[in-house]
């Protein structure tokens, strides 16, 4: 159901170097189904750390993360099962170079969801067609442009039929002319109601797509709200000076 809480983060802390670096300093947040949350903030403010804690690629030092109401940091919780429902897209694509585009996309569904090869491939081809890459299905990733790689990475995650998609600066490694094609795919996803958490420096995307913008600084969530509120009416000096730099 849209509107119900999908991810809940309670007093999350992530320290490095025995507490000398507080990458996350007591962050709490709730992400509801159908929301497109865009996380912005200066470099080193903890955006990636926050995102990577959500699927426990980074193990928080303290706090709790609830996914569908289940505490995934609990010792008894099987994080692998939960991760199947959380797609992730990386700055550097991280496609598997030893597999074709199609095999990149079907590996998870076949091995983890126990889908038949035919079903997984049919599903993958449908998704590839949606991002206009059905003719590249049998290519190896090294033959693709950056924008194409990232589109494949997105649909690879979608093949697992996730409940939320996490994006960590998905366009930062792209040549400028390829940024648009990737953002378009993400916009469409948001329009279809996919729950998304996106770390990005693309303020245009944030304004257009975000249902909520979260501004992070020094490991804390400083301000959050609708794009109009955050961009149009910043309260803290930090956000003002950040916006002055990026807008």
């Amino acid at each position: 159901m849209n509107g119900e809480t999908l991810l809940k983060v309670d007093n999350l802390k992530k320290y490095y170097a025995d507490g000398a670096v507080k990458a996350l300093d007591d962050v709490s947040s709730e992400i509801k189904r159908g929301e497109a949350v865009v996380v912005v903030g200066p470099s080193g403010s903890g955006k990636s750390t926050f995102l990577r804690c959500l699927n426990l690629l980074e193990m928080p030092t303290e706090g709790h993360i609830y996914f569908n109401g289940v505490d995934i940091m609990d010792k008894e919780a099987d994080i692998n099962i939960h991760r199947q429902k959380m797609g992730m897209v990386f700055q550097h694509f991280n496609l598997f170079p030893h597999m074709t585009v199609l095999n990149n996309m079907t590996l998870g569904p076949i091995k983890l969801l126990k889908m038949s090869k035919e079903e997984a491939e049919a599903n993958a081809m449908k998704l590839l067609a949606r991002v206009g890459l059905e003719d590249r299905a049998n290519e190896y990733p090294s033959k693709l442009s950056g924008g194409q790689k990232q589109r494949v990475a997105i649909v690879r995650a979608l093949c697992m039929n996730p409940e939320v998609m996490l994006f960590d600066e998905p366009t930062s490694a792209l040549d400028p002319e390829m940024v648009g094609e990737v953002l378009d795919v993400m916009k469409e996803l948001a329009r279809e109601g996919m729950t998304m958490v996106v770390v990005t420096h693309e303020m245009g995307f944030a304004k257009e797509v975000a249902s909520r913008v979260v501004f992070m600084d020094r490991g804390k969530i400083m301000e959050q709200g609708s794009p109009a509120e955050v961009f149009g009416n910043p309260r803290s000096e930090r956000l003002k000076s950040f916006l002055a730099k990026v807008l």
Binding site: K75, N80, Q84, M88, H92, N94, H98, G108, K111
Partner: protein, 244 residues
Amino acid sequence: MKEWLNELAAEFKLNFIDDDRWELIVEGLKNTIIITFFALLIGVAIGVVISLIRSTYDNNKEDYKRKGGVGYVIMSILNGICNIYLTIIRGTPVVVQLLIMYFVVFATSRNGLMVAIICFGINSGAYVAEIFRSGIMSIDKGQFEAGRSLGFNYIQTMIYIIIPQMFKVVLPTLCNEFIVLLKETSVAGYVGIRDLTKAGDLIRGRTFSAFMPLIAVALIYLVIVMILTWLLRRLERRLRKSER
């Protein structure tokens, strides 16, 4: 000049033709290749297991500690065993290992070939393990994260994503290990195995002429190594081309 050639021909006949002594060389070569091949097979098997245990332990140390319990204890013990194995094998000469294997561990067995295969296998396993481990470490961390973020567990990620890429990276080094091993097996004669080196030495002992048989043996090693090196170069070029 003619005289010298005649002498050479007589030497050749004495060392290789008379009493079908060439058969010793062929048998020796066969044994050398058998030992090398199967030892490398064992080495690769050991190498995969050890490198998996060691990198699993290194990568998940914190996780194990956090969850505690049996898993952590087992992994610590396995990792400790691996480290002891690596230290001993790499810290002692292979001839000594062979002698210990033959006269102590397998003292009741007179199947020298088998003992040699096991000994050289265990020996090369230590080196192959390190080759694999550095191969695993050379794979971009993002590959690992991509696998885990799809929901694969640690072992599945290794098997489907990391190890296939690792093999491609280490293939040249692995071929090189084969070459090294081939030459190392020349000490098999210490425990009475008739490998290529021993065959040359046997002929020398019977004909009392050292030049011909020993040079012949050296040439055979050299040719095999040169062929393997040539194949290795081609392989490297192929791999580099398929990279991008």
